[in-house]
């Protein structure tokens, strides 16, 4: 592995190897810090929760815990597709709470070193919020967008939620 990458928080440790889980979403490849990913599961039955933002798919029962499920496609304003055999839910730890994110497919765990992360160009994938992009990794023939999910829900959005 000749790649190198650094999530925002570890900027100081540029030489460190970090591991990312890469997943696909509408042709693009994204990565998140492996330490944030608790597990990857197939699509279970999702219970819809009314009166929530459209990208909240609902909640699921994860071995006795009820966790919210977010559709990444809807969140990023991408075209909606039906789930297929490849569709996965990545259960991640977002600020101490478990949340599931629906992605098209999960591919692999890759190792990169911090120096390989580049700041994101002004405009990245369509509809993607700038602030949750921690950087871009440019490897031989692939381009990986590094996401910081904790930033995905702006404080504004949280409050909006809270006051609903």
């Amino acid at each position: 592995m000749t790649s190198a990458l650094v999530p925002v928080k570890t900027d100081e440790s540029n030489g460190d190897l970090i591991q990312l889980v890469s997943f696909n979403l509408d042709q693009e490849e994204y990565g998140v810090d492996v330490l944030k990913v608790r597990e990857i599961i197939r699509m279970p039955v999702v219970t819809r929760v009314p009166n929530t933002p459209h990208y909240v798919e609902g909640v699921i029962n994860l071995r006795g815990k009820v966790i919210p499920i977010i559709s990444m496609r809807k969140r990023f304003g991408l075209m909606e597709v039906d789930s297929d055999k490849q569709t996965r839910i990545m259960v991640m730890d977002v600020e101490g709470e478990l949340m599931g994110f629906i992605v098209d497919a999960v591919s692999e765990v890759i190792r990169i070193s911090g120096s390989e992360i580049q700041p994101s160009p002004a405009v990245v994938a369509s509809g993607l919020d700038q602030e949750c992009i921690a950087g871009v990794i440019n490897q031989a023939e692939r381009l990986l967008v590094l996401l910081d999910l904790e930033k995905m829900f702006s404080s504004e959005e949280r409050n909006l939620f809270g006051s609903l």
Binding site: V45, V49, G64, V66, E97
Partner: protein, 606 residues
């Protein structure tokens, strides 16, 4: 102050728990003392508490604490010997000293011992110690035996009893029962005679809710239940194995499995009861701090109040106990400040001088009912209505259309207050809003009964536990929702053609009332799945005088469900109180009928 080394850590912890406990009781006793001034037992108990705290703190070297407790003890001693009479003024000083002791103890607890200003309080205590202060016939010779040096030295010798040796013999009989170390003695390494009893000190107290003390018997019962559960599990594995290996025919399997299900059902519900019981606390935990609060407020307000507490042994879940403290304080404040009148006004109105405030707790089915009742002047609905209009919370038209009951509810509006000026006690219009929000959070209901001139009563209905509830499962166009049974009044099957429309509101004439209807499919934006049907079910929810009907497609049945939170992220979805997991592993959302009732009222009122 000497730093506490780790060897003493255990001692210190013992001291802290014990002291906290003593102080909590002390408040109660002191207030009681004011009422029963000649109760010698009570006075002696108070004296002993302070004495124990003093002894322990001097042993551990908390000088400030020793000074304050010592002087307080001296004053109490004079009361005990009859040299002083209990007066509200003296009680004020003693209570102030107790408060100071609490501050000092909490400093120690926080591990942050500060030089606090204690002279102010002590200087208030001192005059009471002088000969001249004797407000009684001075025939009983008040030998001011409590020479500070002497008694604190003696306490350091960890023989606290001896410091009183010079006292009347009668007193000596009282005291030995206290500071003698209890079973925890072996935990105290060096000076065995130290009063802190570590074992005793571990008891549950409100300020430390992280540990639970459980009866060994209950624990044993629990273990038995778990043992049975393990047996049933083994049986289940066995049955499964037999089935897999084809050793059992279908008929046998059916029978065996049926039996197993029954037993499992039995064992788990027993287990559930046991665990629930362990989580229960007497409501006394919350109630016991009220006499003190009521007393000091009565003094501040210049009112005379008789606080009656009933049913303090009623048990309820820890989670509920933790949450009801605040709302109750606000309700008591409200009753004291707005409800009860001053003695003069009361006498004029032909009532006894001192008002009565009754705080009662009682079980009723799966609920606990706490009521705060005063015999004050009741809620003046006219004034309340006017104020609400003045403050722009409602319009004149809305006011005109309001029932008595709805006007009572106005006092819960945030920002509402009948006070012209905010005081320390009330007037900011926050308190009742807090009450409402907290009770709602607990899934509870508030009822108000009030008669002008006769007093008012606030009735809180709370679930016994927040963890498991009885619920009615309903289906709305294919989606299953759970409605807490506690708020379901009745269910009906009705023909939709019987619905009427008033304005934009669908209503149903049910016996003599007009029931506003809410279609769950509309507010929850459920996609239609079935062909429209003439018949549907209506679940009537709400409290006594606020009702509404929820229109659902089908009733599924009643089930006991465990409440699961939706997490912070989805904590505030309107109309949804939480979720639960059904037998098939799917998640069903729990409807929040209280929220719906409120929300529904709001929109129909507009």
């Amino acid at each position: 102050m000497p730093p506490i080394d780790c060897e003493d850590q255990e001692l210190l912890e013992g001291f802290l728990t014990e002291t906290t406990e003593l102080l909590e009781k002390l408040d109660d006793d002191l207030v009681a003392l004011e009422k029963f001034t000649d109760d010698a037992d009570l006075l002696n108990r108070i004296f002993r508490s302070i004495h124990t705290v003093k002894g322990a703190s001097s042993f551990l070297g908390f000088d400030l604490l020793v000074k304050v407790t010592h002087k307080t003890e001296d004053v109490l001693n004079r009361l005990r010997k009859g040299e002083l009479l209990v007066t509200p003024e003296i009680m004020d000083v003693i209570l102030e000293a107790t408060d100071l002791v609490k501050v000092l103890v909490s400093d120690i607890k926080a591990g942050d011992i500060q030089e606090r200003e204690i002279d102010g309080t002590i200087s208030k205590l001192l005059p009471l110690l002088s000969e001249a202060a004797a407000n009684l016939n001075p025939t009983v010779l008040g030998v001011n035996q409590s020479n500070p040096e002497q008694s604190s030295q003696e306490t350091e010798k960890t023989e606290p009893i001896t410091s009183d040796a010079s006292n009347a013999a009668a007193v000596e009989q009282e005291i030995p029962s206290v500071p003698v170390q209890k079973t925890g003695g072996e935990m105290v390494p060096k000076k065995a005679a130290t009063p802190p009893k570590a074992a005793e000190g571990k008891s549950d107290d409100l300020s430390d809710n992280t540990t639970v003390r459980v009866d060994v018997k209950r624990l044993d019962d629990l273990m038995n239940q778990v043992g049975e559960l393990v047996l049933e599990r083994n049986r289940m594995i066995q049955i499964n194995q037999n089935l897999q290996q084809g050793m059992e025919n279908k008929l046998d399997f059916n029978e065996e499995f049926g039996k197993l299900t029954k037993r499992m059902n039995f064992v788990t519900s027993e287990l559930q009861m046991q665990v629930l019981k362990m989580r229960m606390l007497p409501v006394e935990k919350v109630f016991k701090k009220f006499p003190r609060i009521v007393r000091s407020m009565a003094r501040d307000l210049g009112k005379e109040v008789n606080l009656v507490i009933l049913g303090e042994e009623t048990e309820l879940d820890r989670s509920v106990v933790d949450e009801i403290g605040d709302p109750l304080i606000h309700l008591i404040r409200n009753a004291m400040d707005h409800g009860l009148e001053t003695p003069e006004v009361r006498v004029e109105a032909g009532k006894p001088r001192s008002g009565t405030l009754i705080l009662a707790a009682v079980h009723e089915g799966n609920q606990i009912i706490i009521s705060i009742k005063d015999d004050g002047n009741g809620i003046d609905t006219e004034r309340v209505g006017r104020k609400a209009v003045e403050k722009g919370l409602i319009t004149e038209d809305q006011l005109a259309a309001m029932s008595q009951r709805e006007m009572f509810d106005l006092i819960f509006l945030p920002g509402f207050s009948t006070k012209e000026k905010a005081t320390d006690l009330s007037g900011r219009g926050v308190g009742m809003d807090v009450v409402k929000t907290n009770i709602k959070k607990l899934n509870g209901l508030i009822d108000i009964k009030s008669e002008k001139g006769q007093g008012s009563e606030f009735i809180l209905r709370l679930p016994l536990t927040l963890a498991i509830i009885q619920s009615l499962l309903v289906e709305v166009e294919g989606e299953v929702y759970s409605i807490p049974l506690s708020s379901v009044l009745e269910t009906l099957r009705v023909d939709q053609r019987q619905f009427h429309v008033i304005g934009n509101q669908e209503v149903l004439k049910l016996r003599d009332i007009v029931l506003p209807l809410v279609r769950l499919e509309t507010i929850f934006k459920v996609q239609r799945k079935y062909e429209p049907d003439d018949f549907c079910y209506v679940v009537v929810v709400g409290s006594a005088d606020k009702r509404m009907g929820l229109v659902v497609t089908r009733l599924v049945g009643q089930q006991e469900v465990a409440i699961k939170s939706l997490g912070n992220y989805l904590a505030n979805v309107p109309g949804i109180a939480g979720s639960t997991i059904l037998g098939d592993g799917r998640v069903a959302l729990i409807v929040d009928p209280v929220g719906l009732v409120d929300g529904g009222e709001g929109s129909s009122g507009r």
